[in-house]
């Protein structure tokens, strides 16, 4: 299987220089060659554990944090909001 490094980088929101892309392409190719070593498998579905099912909690609104605590890690804020580059022209 041949990997299209630029397409996958775009989907991954990553950017590579030409040199980096070459290096990654070679490495990714050898990793893919390794993971391709899977036997032919019928689709038997995903593993679930019926004895220990997931348990969702009640969907209740609770006030756990103050706004400024949550914004403290954002790089740029203004008037209690996170600032990002303009999205809509």
């Amino acid at each position: 299987m041949k990997i299209d490094i630029n397409h996958i980088a775009k989907l991954s929101r990553l950017k590579f220089s030409d040199d980096e892309a070459k290096k990654f392409e070679n490495e990714m190719q050898s990793i893919l060659d390794m993971v391709e070593n899977l036997p032919p498998m019928e689709d038997i579905g995903a593993l679930i554990d019926p004895e220990n099912p997931m348990e969702m909690r009640k969907d209740e609104a609770v006030n756990l944090y103050k706004r400024d605590e949550l914004l403290a890690n954002a790089k740029q804020t203004q008037a209690g909001c996170v600032v990002v580059p303009k999205v809509v022209e």
Partner: protein, 487 residues
């Protein structure tokens, strides 16, 4: 008195008998950090001031005659992918270099409620992706048995700190072997619990269906003590399992009579170094001489497990790590022209190469046209591997294997060869794929004096059986040794 060397269960007793204070324990551990950390480099962030403050509180509680929780006053260091309120949690990544969580992980809340002392946050492979702790953005950690060697990974800081007595206990996390492999490389005990038995709330997600937090210690009793403190249902983690979790330390039992141990032939193949194989087989003999029954078994899909693991783990990682975009927290690139440019530059500058490889692999196996051939096939294989384990456990109580195919390698030796690095996990990934518990304990050392670990695997929620078997073996060999001199 060298309190830093003492096991947690002994320190707990000494505190109750007023033979030492929590402040003395904490100061002793920080003195040890002061003398050894420049050789080991286990910590990313030290928490001395708060630790000493907490120790004073514990001492006051003792003076006031209050009831002491089991872990009160015990130094427990925490891997840096577990959120600690007000203390930087970096995941050893540039992208979270200055992230200070506004909340505690559930395991940290549980430990705080027991009045533990938290000396600091431990180094690891970036986002827990790696087997040598060399992919950390901050530093390379050394193996206390030979500082030119890696401590294993990804919980390499946790294993090295415990082995070097720079912490009495530590928390690690295990997605494909990240507790057990470094425990084996550093000659300590590491338990990867059953998936769902420890809350993952506040653990920075790598592969959510495989990740599990677990204890690392210098002896089995201490590991049982820490595991008892962190397990249990948590409403903040939907995958955590409601169960009656007993006290694993109180129920420890030194008895191997009639225990059926399975040896899967696939785990003793040519890929395993002869010295490792010999040491593990010697341990098997000791267990047999002390009452265990040995059975040869087979787990035929083992050869495909590594492929299935890297597909499933990378797929989940590519999705989990999509949140790191420079908007709400973490690193943000300095110059950008628009939002997409900001995302791409932030992520390209913030993530290291190994993390990028996994994101790319995960994105590829989930992308249109490749999903069925890779991801779906790997998920079916996961089910097959799990069924093979279930079948094997109908004939034995525990399965015994080497933890790693070889002992600790030199720093820099495998870092430029991802496939060689991935092969380190060959004996450990199946356990995560099937959601089972497993423990790694030391069983000898190689000709260079580097520790060898063996792994005991059990059915879901059989931690007590694993701990009892490990405890019995520890008694047979008269305890595990850590290096007295770190060079």
């Amino acid at each position: 008195m060298e309190l830093y060397k003492k096991p947690a269960h002994e320190l707990s007793k000494m505190l109750r008998n007023k033979e030492c204070s929590a402040t003395e324990i904490t100061e002793s551990v920080f003195e040890r950090i002061g003398s050894e950390e420049n050789k080991v480099n286990a910590y990313i962030t030290l928490n001395k001031e708060q630790a000493l403050h907490k120790a004073t509180e514990v001492d006051q509680n003792i003076a006031d005659g209050k009831d002491l929780p089991r872990l009160a006053g015990i130094p427990v260091a925490v891997k840096d992918n577990i959120c600690t309120k007000g203390i930087r949690t970096s995941c050893a990544s540039k992208i979270l270099e200055d992230f200070v969580p506004p909340y505690n992980a559930t395991v940290v809340e549980k430990l705080n409620s027991q009045d533990i002392i938290m000396p600091g946050k431990l180094n690891m492979d970036e986002f827990a992706m790696g087997s040598s702790t060399e992919t950390s953005f901050f530093k390379k950690t050394s193996n206390p048995f030979d500082t030119s060697c890696v401590p294993g990974g990804s919980s390499g800081g946790s294993a090295a700190a415990v082995a070097a007595c720079e912490a009495t206990l530590a928390l690690g996390s295990d997605t494909g072997g990240s507790i057990r492999q470094p425990a084996a490389f550093c000659g300590i005990v590491g338990l990867k619990p059953t998936y769902g038995s420890v809350s993952r709330y506040g653990l920075v997600a790598f592969a959510s269906s495989l990740d599990q937090i677990g204890p690392m210690a210098r002896n089995v009793k201490d590991a049982a003590m820490l595991y008892s403190a962190i397990c249990g249902k948590d409403s903040l983690d939907a995958t955590s399992v409601r169960k009656d979790y007993s006290n694993f330390e109180d129920n420890l039992c030194n008895n191997l009579k009639g225990l059926k141990i399975g040896l899967p032939k696939e785990y003793f193949s040519e890929g395993i170094e002869p010295e490792v194989k010999a040491s593990v087989m010697n341990a098997v003999q000791l267990l047999e001489q002390n009452g265990a029954k040995i059975h040869q078994i087979s787990l035929p899909s083992t050869d495909y497990a590594l492929s299935a693991y890297y597909i499933i783990a990378s797929a989940e990682a590519s999705s989990n790590l999509a949140r790191f975009d420079g908007v709400k927290y973490g690193y943000r690139t300095k110059e950008y022209t628009n939002l997409i440019d900001m995302y791409e530059k932030t992520r390209s500058e913030g993530f290291g190469d190994e993390v990028k490889r996994r994101i790319m692999l995960g994105t590829f196996v989930l992308s249109s046209g490749y999903y069925d051939a890779y991801y779906k096939r790997a998920k079916s294989l996961q089910k097959r591997i799990s069924s093979e384990f279930t079948e094997a456990f109908s004939g034995c109580d525990v399965i015994l294997t080497p933890t790693t195919p070889y002992t600790a390698f030199k720093i820099g030796q495998n870092i430029n060869d991802p496939l060689k690095m991935y092969a380190c996990d060959i004996c450990t990934v199946t356990v995560n794929i099937a959601g089972l518990p497993a423990i790694s304990i030391p069983c000898g050392s190689d000709s260079k004096g580097l520790p060898i670990g063996m792994q005991l695997i059990g059915p879901k929620f059989s931690e007590q059986v694993l701990l009892n078997t490990a405890y019995s073996f520890e008694n047979i060999v008269d305890g595990f040794k850590v290096p007295s001199d770190i060079r």
